[in-house]
Symmetry: C2
Amino acid sequence: MAEAVAGCVRHGLPAIGLWRQNVAEQGLDETVRLVKDAGLRVSSLCRGGFLTAPDFEADNRRAIDEAAALEAACLVMVVGGLPGVVPGEPLGEISRDLPAARERVAEALALLAPYAAERGVRLALEPLHPVYCADRAVLSTLGQALDLAAPYAPETVGVVIDTFHVWWDPQVFEQIGRAGREGRIASYQVCDFLSPLPDVLLGRGMMGDGVIDFGPLTGAVAAAGYAGDVEVEIFNADVWAADPDEVVATMKNRFERLVVTRV
Amino acid sequence: MAEAVAGCVRHGLPAIGLWRQNVAEQGLDETVRLVKDAGLRVSSLCRGGFLTAPDFEADNRRAIDEAAALEAACLVMVVGGLPGVVPGEPLGEISRDLPAARERVAEALALLAPYAAERGVRLALEPLHPVYCADRAVLSTLGQALDLAAPYAPETVGVVIDTFHVWWDPQVFEQIGRAGREGRIASYQVCDFLSPLPDVLLGRGMMGDGVIDFGPLTGAVAAAGYAGDVEVEIFNADVWAADPDEVVATMKNRFERLVVTRV
């Protein structure tokens, strides 16, 4: 955590997206102090969710508390897959009833949203690429995320637009426009989709190394009124193993060249 | 080919889906004779498509001719990915313009549909799971396939509903209903989606080994009026390596137990 925060400062990055396990390792209070002293915004806390598991509630309330303490712009919600499916594990007793799992997510959200509102935390529903439907998120499209968010105030429940997850969607531009009109864009995240996909979880790449055309997506998000931080989130073992200063330098270069749109 | 045809006869399967490379290996005339003598229907010929490649036309006309000779119920169209992306190969010069690639597919279809109509062949547009959007099919949802088919007579352009590709889609039941109303269901294919996905291309499984709930999907396809053959298509190295008689026995058992719905 200290290294990541110092890296942001050294490279002039104004905001950082945090993951809960790193916050826990550093300690919540110490993390709050670190990011405050560094003058960084917390663009998001990742992640709440896994709402299809029986014991979702206590942990999600803790995640909301942490997001409040960190003054995170939102708490990213990865809603969970089919009940009983554990990511990376062989299938045991599972439910294959996908519509019911989606209903469970809606019910769990109804339990958590009032608490998030009370704590001033914005829950950001993240549709994940359909390849994760079974094990990580039964929420598969931006349209579906917006339908799920509809009953709540936009400042309490928003959506994440992550290029890796939504780039393929024939309705993506229409739904980004809708997300803007409904005031729901809580986060815009970028990374590339590698091809061939070397790994289902870690097959994400630095912008420019894959197949995504970032300009039109960034343009649509900007035209939809989103003016918050853009997060670069890359699940990739090579990126993680590389020298952090080189990774940030490459990231800034690619970001300027491929992601930013000027209107 | 001879082994597959004999296996269908031995196990009382009334129809077979053929792949073009196997037809080519056996010879088209000899394949026609084999399936006719065996009394088998050809439920589909797989595949035409890759319409985003510059040289798509001649090969697709040949595929249409072959489907006509085989009296196949349809020619499955895997429409192709982003121009320049070759499945399994590192990225070279590619186009990242996904909307343009989709437009190219529509234009190619406009060139091929009249020829298919003339030869009495039904083109069956297959939406592929979004994980294949870059390298195999920019056609990612059933709704999108139906939009693409809309300008043509249903007997000339239909759609394939493959459980592996569509099970995750929040709109799948609505779009199956629409496909029925529009008379477009050309093929219903089943196989399971394994979790964790062991391989992006070959991670398909025998029904019951993965996460798909077949009953509601089969029920929706039947309620939509589809009364054609149901194809079991499993891309899986273990299945391919196993004893064919055991595979067919397992397939029949799983099919009866998990796929068939009785109304």
